[in-house]
Amino acid sequence: MLAADQYLMVGVVLFGIGVIGFLTRRNVIVLLMCIELMINGAGLAFVSFCRQTGSLDGQVFVLFAMVIAAVEIAVALSIVLLVFRNRATLDVDEMEVLKW
Amino acid sequence: MDITHWPVLSILILLPAIGAGLIFLIPWADDFFPRVLALLVAGVNLLLSLALFRAFNPASAGMQFAERRDWIPDLGAGYSLGVDGISLFMVLITTFMVFLALLSSWGEVERRPGLFSGFILLMEAGLLGIFLSMDLLLFYVFWEIMLVPMYFLIGLWGGENRRYATIKLIIYTMGGSLLMLVAILSLYFFHHAQTGTYTFDIVQLYETSIPAYALLPMGFAFFVAFAVKSPLVPFHTWLPDAHAEAPISGAVDITGLLIKTGAYAFLRFFLPLFPDFSASYAPLVVMLALLANLYGALIATVQDDIKRLIAYSSVSHVGLIILGIFVLNLQGIEGAILMMVSIALSSGALFIIVGMLHKRSRTKDISQMGGVWRDMPLMGGFFMFFTLASVGIPGLSNFVGEFLIFLGAFRVNVIYGVAASFVVVLTAAYLLWMFWRVMFGPAPERTRTWYDLSFMETVTLTIPAILVVLIGVYPKILLDRIEPSASALLVRAEKKLAQKEIPKNRLSVASCQITEDRELKTEK
């Protein structure tokens, strides 16, 4: 059996890549995907910890996290549609009417 | 009127508060009604305070007419009021000056006079609260709430620079008093640590002994708060702006009262709470006070703005008051209280006069005036009278306070006495020079239209004039009532000092016996 913390490390890296992407990309949809990456990273961490501790809580958590992710993405995408309808853009840097 | 069984102190505070509330609630009413209401309320309050004065027992040093109810029992904060010889005259002068301010601003406020009266009443409630609170938290409440009407009086009816003036007012006074809040809380917790009870009751807090490490910062926080309000140089620069930018004389009068709260708080709270701090740093404070005294006089000399001039003269006088307090003897303290009352009257009246001048001349610039006496001899007479009162001519009120302060200072240290009394020469110089520039000299043609005082204005000025003479000629009326409380204050401070076993070479408080020969040699 492989040491579960290597999976954990993969989770960390996925999470990190998500963060990097969120900070560097400008397309809203890509940003949302980055968030998916982060959630998956967290999920991987959960499951690897499950394996380590032997409790099912983590897996349950991941299950719920997936639902949350789905809901969030659905809502977010509906807002994105609204944005696109208004401004015809997906560039997050162009959404800066609200500042200072 | 037998008021001994009334909650008279509460009524004193609540009446103007309710009056102000009514005025604020009926903004659509014609301006006449709120003005009358305000004057009525102020008048009733004045009568009430006079009744209080009559019923006051001059022989007692303790709190009279005391009221105590729980307010926030969780914190041990009480609604606790009381009046003693020190606060009695503060109350009287407040009710009186508020009445006068309303009277003098009767025709002066052109826009929203009703609202103006409301704020003045609110100020009255706050001021009376400060003077009557026997609970530190309650005191703080009034102390801070006072600023709001003040802020609006200047901010709404002020001159061109009012914005700057209000900013300064807020920065200075609020910064100072909020720091004090932290110190109050520290004191409160120290008291709890020592006695196990949470209370803001001032008499109980007097007994708190503050650990040495906290003494300096706490004392400093209190000191700064009071010094800003007083205002003592170098915390004074808000005052000239506040005075100069408040075009309504009534508002300025109230500012005059406001600054008395600083000196009062020194007496009521600072000395008893921090006797050791007061005693050890008294020389420093006295130096500062003397500096303020001189500094205010110097700067007043070269002012061209008549309001600033009088404001700086207030700074100078306040220095004297603080000096009187911090020489820590009976004469000094009694003198300081008398001085507070007198300055409220004389400077207040001067401001009213300046307001009357302003109404006619539309300027505060002294160089635009001159020769006014020709067309306004009656006002000139009053102006002269109050100027002389400020100069400290014996027989008028300021002299008594001044002399007692000098005497108190002189007994502690000859140098103090010398320095303080020297400034009186300068005071005479700049005030009379101001008077000369305004009233004397050839009159320009435009002053022809400056009509002399109306009947209302004459009445407004006559009342304080009578009081100035009364206090100047028969100050015993005040001194008799102040003395028991003032000496109790000193005795308490001394007792607390004795407990702390302050080294004997520090200043001893109440009995300031000095060996004059030695002092004089040092002077030589």
């Binding site: 963060v19 | 009694e334 002269m384 005479a428 110089a429 004397f440 004089l520």
Partner: protein, 642 residues
Amino acid sequence: MVEATGLFSKLWLVPALPLAGALFNCLLGRQVSNFVVSIVACGSIGLAAVLSLLLFNSFLKLPVEQRHIELCMYNWIPSGDFSAPIDLLLDPLSMVMITMVSGVSFLIHVYSVGYMSRDESFARYFFYLNLFVFFMLLLVLAGNFLVLYIGWEGVGTCSYLLISFLYHKQSAARAGLKAFVVTRFGDFFFTLGIMLVFVQFKSIYFGEVLPRAHEVLTPVMATWIALLIFGGAVGKSAQVPLHTWLPDAMEAPTPVSALIHAATMVTAGVYLVARCYPIFQLSPTAMSTVAVIGLLTAVISATIALVNNDIKRILAYSTVSQLGHMFIGLGVGAPAAAIFHLLTHAFAKALLFLGAGAVIHALHEEMDIRRMGALKGHIPATFWTFLVGALAMAGIPGLAGFFSKDAILEASFTNGGVLLWLIMVVTAGLTAFYCFRLFFNAFLGEKRWDPHVEEVHHPAPVMTIPLMLLAVLAAVGGYMGVPHALGGADRISSFLAPVFPPAHHTDGGGDSSRLGIMLMTVSSMVAMLGIILAYYFYVSPEGREAPGRLRQTLSGVYDFLSNGWYFDKIYQVVFVDRFMGAANFFWQAVDTSVLDMTVRGLAGLVLGGGEIVPRLQTGLVRWYALFMVAGAVVIMGYLYIF
């Protein structure tokens, strides 16, 4: 000390009557006619004068040891161990003073009715004047230092008010301010003196302080107290170096000059020193200081009077000079002589001033003696009375000034030495010279009037009658103190004796009697010489060119003198300019720059620091996320620093 009984219990009426008059004129003066005003004003003073005389009468009937009556009105300032009641003290010193003050005041009031008749501020004038009399009477009747101080400041205030009475004149306003501030400077010392007295004695009653002075005070302390009190006197009595206000004070209406700046207020300093004489006696230093200051003043102002051309200023300098004489008298241990001189000088100088007032009035407010002359025929009453005054002033034997001046001269010869005496005699000569320079220029010689003066105003009887009465007093007033040397009884000295402790010098032995006569002769001759010189210079045709030539020869001296020894200019540069400079510095550099800038700077710092915030709030989501991540990094770094 004797409880006030009988008439003496009405002592308070003496100051109260003028006060009542003042209050009436203050409150109702504008409503009633000038006639009522003058009746009330003069009447109240007149009653006070009559009451004083009645009191004097009763007082003389008292045994000598009972001539110390205190009347306590009420406790004015009680504060702990300090207490200052309003109490009045009637002893021989204050007795003569109130009599003189009320009497002279009454005459001058009457004169003023005529003099001020056309002034629109008639009531105000009499309000001030009555108030002044009240304070003056309070001053001399004071039973303790603080009451004296009330009067002291009160008279100063009234003086200020009356000097600036002609409000439209800048010079009057300036003079008033100057008078007030300069005297206030002296009062500063006086206040300190009072406080030092209290600290030493735990009391400020004359009745407790003065008798115990020699027990309580160390010599050093006595010197300090005496000098501080003398400081007050120097200011009030216009002694060098604080004398500069008095000549300027001539801006006041002339009767005011007569009353305040000649007869009464300026002599308050002399009165004060005399009152505190027991303290001064304990300190030889203080005594000599008093004498030296007096001498300096006498000489300096006499020399200035020589060259001045303003009729009132000449008299003012003369007043200063005579006050110097009085202080010399006090300094050399002849307080009674000083008081005697005070009285005679009051009569004579009041007379001269009122006469000068009549002259000025006659010539339509002309004050320059160079534009007068030949008034003898126009206003004869004034001429004759003025002559009496001038002679009395000059010290011509038989007139009042002679006796009093010689009493001082004799004392200074005995106690101060020949040099002192010599200087004083020369000064006396100068006095005679300038008095008659003034007199001759004004009344004799040819007309040098301003062309627009077509007709002289003739003084009304209300003006001439006081002149005459004063002339009588100036002529015969000296007989209350005819020295023993001339076979007199020197009644004034013996009357005042209870107030002053026994003097050092012995009174009138056979030797000194002869010496006295000799001294008198010399001084009278010097005075005559002065008059003759004046006649030669200003009347006789031969001498007409002399003053001009002399002026040219001694132009440096002349400038020096006519600029009043440059006192004013030096003060301007050394004090006033410096003071204004400092004030400006503190205002501009400290208050508006340093302190205000600190506040503005703090506010600017907050706002300037706040300027970062808008830049941070870019509106960019990624930027916001960046902050979150950065925050996380920092927190993690805090928890685990690698």
